[in-house]
């Protein structure tokens, strides 16, 4: 790593800003502001700091519409909004997707629009922690806020996730390194365990690394549960782990004072999908007969959990909700984005604060290439290449304030530190404007 000189050339500092990157939502950042630009960020990890500071990189600054030659051309806001509203108003099966990197306030407007036009609304959970939600609905959800781990945990397990790369401050701020009320020596008072086929950066710094074989997660956790219930393991090696090691680990887990299990997409997207999470949750429930254990999914975007919470309290269901019949329907596989796109049901697709072009499977993107796509975002990305109308939004947590929910569901009001570019509009304003214009079109009919 190259040494970087600290930033000294700035006008003022805005304290206690919240990072708009991963689900850790670190709210202790100091933004160093010079001339309406964040030139330095204190306390953030490199992922967060670079997203905040390099906000001008490939920034979408003006509304655009794709012309008959297939080129995106700059237009004024009215033209772009009218075009988008017309597409939405005349669509039969619209889908409003994304939302995980915008504010709850914007989602509110989005839901109003969804209800009004009878659309489907969905977020990134549909392609990431969806299996987790399914598992939670199967067997339960024993979780906690991150401070519980910081103050009490003497064993922390990460599986199917590599926070050192993906949630870089997770260990430092919440789980392993900080001194907690009952763990005054911080790291030294805790055992860090990683269950992962890969020798990840998190595994490298762990006290125990359990490299079960790929797709061996279910079998491995199942074996721990069996040992916990006093059963004899019939095979010497399970999921690539020797029986003795599993027994030893189980004993260790039983004998801690407070254990926490964090899991990521490595668990949700391997062979057994939601069944992996089922059994992980059940393991935690079993362990509570002996000592205290909790678990938490490592959510990715800073407000992906927020969307699930928001939609649950507004409409009773967490994601993939279809309003085409005038009441909400939630059927995984039927009302979820990838399935709707694969079946080519959708005729207009609105994407806000998400990048399906980069993340969706080929089949789904092929359909997106064939239908009108409206994009609300701050950066140019693969989805912009698919978009027919582009509406440049503003950066929540930097340019616009708003509410988000951390991965452990703690609500945080994210403040703004600088003004947005003059030609951009707040996400909430854009969605509300679409709603108003759609209403005008529909009522005129």
């Amino acid at each position: 790593m190259v040494y970087e000189e600290p930033v000294t050339d700035y006008d003022h500092i805005v304290e206690n800003c919240t990072c708009a990157f991963c689900g850790s939502n670190c709210d202790d950042l100091d933004f160093l502001v010079k001339g309406n630009h964040v030139v330095g960020v204190r306390h953030a990890c490199r992922l967060g700091a670079s997203k905040i500071m390099e906000d001008e990189d490939q920034r979408l600054k003006v509304p655009m519409i794709r012309d008959e030659n297939g080129e995106l051309v700059e237009v004024d806001w009215d033209t772009a909004l009218d075009k988008a509203a017309e597409l939405l108003a005349n669509s039969v099966r619209p889908l409003l997707y994304g939302w995980s990197e915008t504010s709850i306030e914007c989602m509110k407007k989005g839901l109003e629009l969804t209800e009004y036009i009878g659309a489907v609304i969905d977020n990134q959970a549909t392609i990431c922690h969806g299996p987790t939600v399914q598992a939670v609905q199967n067997v339960g959800y024993p979780l906690m806020t991150l401070g519980e781990v910081k103050n009490r945990a003497d064993m922390v397990v990460y599986t199917g996730s590599n926070p050192m790369n993906a949630h870089p401050r997770h260990l430092a701020r919440y789980s392993v390194f900080p001194r907690g009320w009952f763990r005054q020596r911080g790291r030294f008072d805790r055992t860090l365990v990683t269950w992962d086929p890969k020798y990840s950066d998190t595994a490298k710094m762990s006290d125990i690394w359990v490299p079960f074989e790929e797709n061996g997660d279910y079998g491995f956790v199942n074996a721990i549960r069996a040992v916990l219930k006093g059963k004899e393991l019939k095979e010497d090696v399970i999921s690539g782990i020797p029986k003795e090691d599993i027994i030893e680990l189980t004993e260790a887990m039983k004998n801690v004072e407070f254990g926490a299990l964090f899991f990521g997409l490595g668990l949700t997207h391997t062979l057994s999908k939601q069944r992996n999470i089922d059994i992980a949750i059940q393991l935690i429930q079993d362990l509570n007969a002996y000592t205290k254990w909790v678990l938490l999914p490592m959510r990715g975007h800073f407000n992906v959990n927020g969307f699930n919470i928001f939609l649950s309290y507004e409409m009773g269901f967490p994601y993939g909700v279809d309003f085409s019949r005038g009441y909400p329907r939630y059927m995984i596989g039927e009302t979820t984005t990838i399935d709707l796109l694969n079946r080519k049901e959708i005729d207009v697709f609105l994407v806000i604060a998400a990048d399906p072009g980069a993340h969706f499977p080929g089949g789904a993107n092929m359909h997106l290439a064939e239908i009108p796509v409206i994009q609300i975002d701050i950066h140019w990305g693969p989805s912009t290449e698919l978009a027919d109308v582009v509406l440049p939004g503003t950066f929540i947590g930097v340019e616009t304030e708003g509410t988000s929910y951390r991965m452990d569901s703690v609500p945080i009001h994210m403040k703004s530190a600088i003004d947005p570019p003059e030609t951009c509009r707040e996400d909430e304003w854009i969605v509300n404007e679409l709603l108003e214009r759609v209403k005008n079109i529909k009522e005129a009919k």
């Binding site: 339960g140 024993p142 906690m144 910081k150 205290k292 009773g316 269901f317 009441y327 939630y330 569901s409």
Partner: protein
């Protein structure tokens, strides 16, 4: 807008109006003595007229509701209603979506509901949900019973600083009053443990439930908060717990009430049904209602609500997290848990209260025993601890049970398990509630217990929160078992519900949607002490919480619109 509700049969226990035929007049959102000739006349001749209902204890908004909704789509699919021109779509049975919550309370003629458990760290979430609930005012209660700062102050016996802390935290979280849940037990749950009885100390902190309840009750009276200490005692749901309940009530007996408040009690004991069990295990469990009711009959410093079992499939959710794990061990259904750093814990589990099950039938009977054994209706409030003992939409059904001993006999003889008859005194109780008592336990008493002068009655100057039901009390025999279904039907769909002068329900349908207000207490006169306390606790806050203090508080835009109660603590 002016209204005149003409010729209704009015029950208004606060103002000693007992079934009189009279007009109720409304102007600018208030009840008035007379209106101009422009007033719109609503002819309610001979219909039942009461103030709008007030719920003293329910769980309607906040993080644990949301966990419930997220992990129980099977519950959300019960109660799906399509949107209309006025209303949004509804979902959910025991844990309805926010808009459904507002509409359903409104249709029952309710105007004010208490959200009974707000963890300070996630108070923003609760307020966000309240903003999405229409048509009812909400009084949120803030959890204090397992808060580390509180435990520390109690241990030091530092009531002065504790009072300043409470005052500051009510401002920070924008809440109305104080709530204690399983004091010390939810902290013990941080280590997977619980406490038993009021004198079992929390691990490490070494303070007991008794000490916490006493200290916070003293603080509540020092500050003169409109509502009293609102306590969910230790040992919920454990056979033999009635003694703990009595111990809890007795622990605060000597504490003097602040003279400036309108309520009579210093302690409100919530969902008493769950705390009135005799026996030593579920094998020999029986009713402990009699000693508990007897204590309340003899002591005016206590009020209670019942938490009546409605014999439904529902969702239990409480900050008494260890109890939820106990239930998980009993039923094996999907268990959720949610511990909150430095503050509290919470747990959830679906539950099926079956009339065929001995324990559930016993619980059902104990709730009714309490209703019938506590003599003064001003000390009792009708609740289901919604959704814990049943969803709030069952209130009309409970009223039908209270008004007809014939209906209860019918159920005891043919519908519920024999434990209800054999292990309780319910078969011997033939008391029936009249409409005046019903109005008391659903409106007047809860409003008074909450310390709300502006609602729960129809006197001049009160908020124009009125409910009219399509029932003629003078031509209706509520004691007849066959009429129970009529009561349930009619009280479930108000003819009119009026909220602050707006007709929000007409003929059982939502006719208007208004924003709910957040009621919160702003203690005045403790500013210096609050500042000092905040300075003192800031090092601990910064080190052990995972959010910055600046981002911890509830900003004003989360409580729009609100009613601020300025409390003069010097009185």
């Amino acid at each position: 807008m002016e209204y005149i509700l003409k010729n209704g049969i009015v029950y208004d226990p606060t103002n000693n109006v007992t079934g009189e035929k009279k007009d109720v007049m409304i102007k600018d959102g208030k009840i008035v003595g007379n209106v101009s000739s422009d007033a719109k006349v609503l002819d309610v001749t001979d219909k039942l007229v009461m103030a709008a209902g007030v719920d003293v204890h329910a769980h309607i908004a906040g993080p644990k509701l949301c966990v419930g909704r997220l992990y129980r789509p099977e519950d959300e699919r019960r109660g799906v209603v399509a949107k209309t021109d006025i209303t949004r779509a509804e979902t959910g049975f025991s844990i309805p979506s926010c808009s459904a919550t507002g509409y359903r309370y409104s249709r029952m003629g309710y105007g004010t509901v208490t959200e009974a458990a707000v963890p300070p760290l996630e108070a923003k979430h609760t307020h966000e949900e309240i903003m999405s609930i229409p048509n009812i005012d909400v009084t949120p209660l803030l959890l204090f019973g397992n808060n580390w700062f509180v435990l520390q102050y109690v241990k030091e016996g530092n009531l002065e600083d504790l009072a300043a802390f409470v005052a500051a935290w009510l401002k920070i979280a924008k809440c109305y009053g104080m709530k204690v849940v399983n004091p010390c037990g939810s902290e013990a749950w941080g280590w997977g443990m619980n406490v038993h009885g009021v004198d079992d100390p929390a691990p490490y902190w070494d303070v007991t439930g008794r000490e916490v309840v006493r200290a916070l009750t003293q603080v509540n009276e020092m500050l003169g908060l409109p509502h009293s200490m609102h306590v969910h005692p230790n040992d919920l749901g454990h056979p033999g717990n009635y003694q703990t309940t009595i111990d809890t009530m007795d622990a605060v007996k000597d504490i003097e009430k602040n003279p400036s408040v309108i309520r009579n009690q210093t302690l409100h004991c919530t969902h008493l049904q769950f705390h009135s069990y005799g026996g030593t295990s579920w094998r020999d469990a029986n009713s402990g209602a009699e000693p508990v009711a007897d204590y309340i009959n003899k002591n005016k410093h206590v009020t209670c609500d019942i938490g009546q079992i409605t014999l439904d499939e529902t969702t239990t959710m409480t900050a008494d997290a260890p109890m939820e794990y106990d239930l998980y061990k009993l039923s094996g259904l999907k268990w959720a848990n949610k511990d909150i750093e430095l503050e509290t814990a919470a747990g959830l589990i679906p539950i099926i209260y079956s009339p065929k099950a001995p324990v559930n039938s016993l619980q059902w009977a104990i709730g009714l025993e309490l209703f019938l054994m506590i003599n003064d209706p001003w000390q009792v409030v009708l609740t289901t601890d919604s959704p814990n003992a049943g969803p709030f939409i069952r209130y009309p059904r409970i009223i039908s049970w209270l008004m007809s001993s014939d209906r209860r006999t019918e159920m005891l003889e043919g519908e519920v398990h024999k434990w209800a008859s054999k292990r309780t005194a319910l078969p011997t109780l033939d008391r029936v509630y009249d409409w005046n008592e019903i109005a008391t336990v659903t409106r007047s008493a809860p409003a008074k217990i909450l310390g709300l002068e502006d609602r729960g009655h129809l006197g001049v100057g009160a908020n124009a929160d009125v409910a009219v039901y399509d029932l003629e009390p003078e031509n209706f025999d509520a004691t007849k078992a066959a009429n129970a279904a009529v009561i349930e039907d009619v009280l479930g769909r108000a003819l009119y519900t009026i909220k602050d002068g707006d007709v929000v329900v007409k003929d059982g349908k939502i006719s208007k949607v208004v924003k709910s207000r957040h009621l919160w207490s702003n203690v005045q006169g403790f500013e210096e002490q609050e500042k000092k306390v905040l300075e003192n606790i800031m090092p601990m806050f910064n080190r052990y919480y995972t959010v910055k203090f600046e981002n911890y508080k509830v900003h004003d835009h989360y409580i729009d619109p609100s009613i601020e109660f300025k409390i003069d603590a010097s009185k």
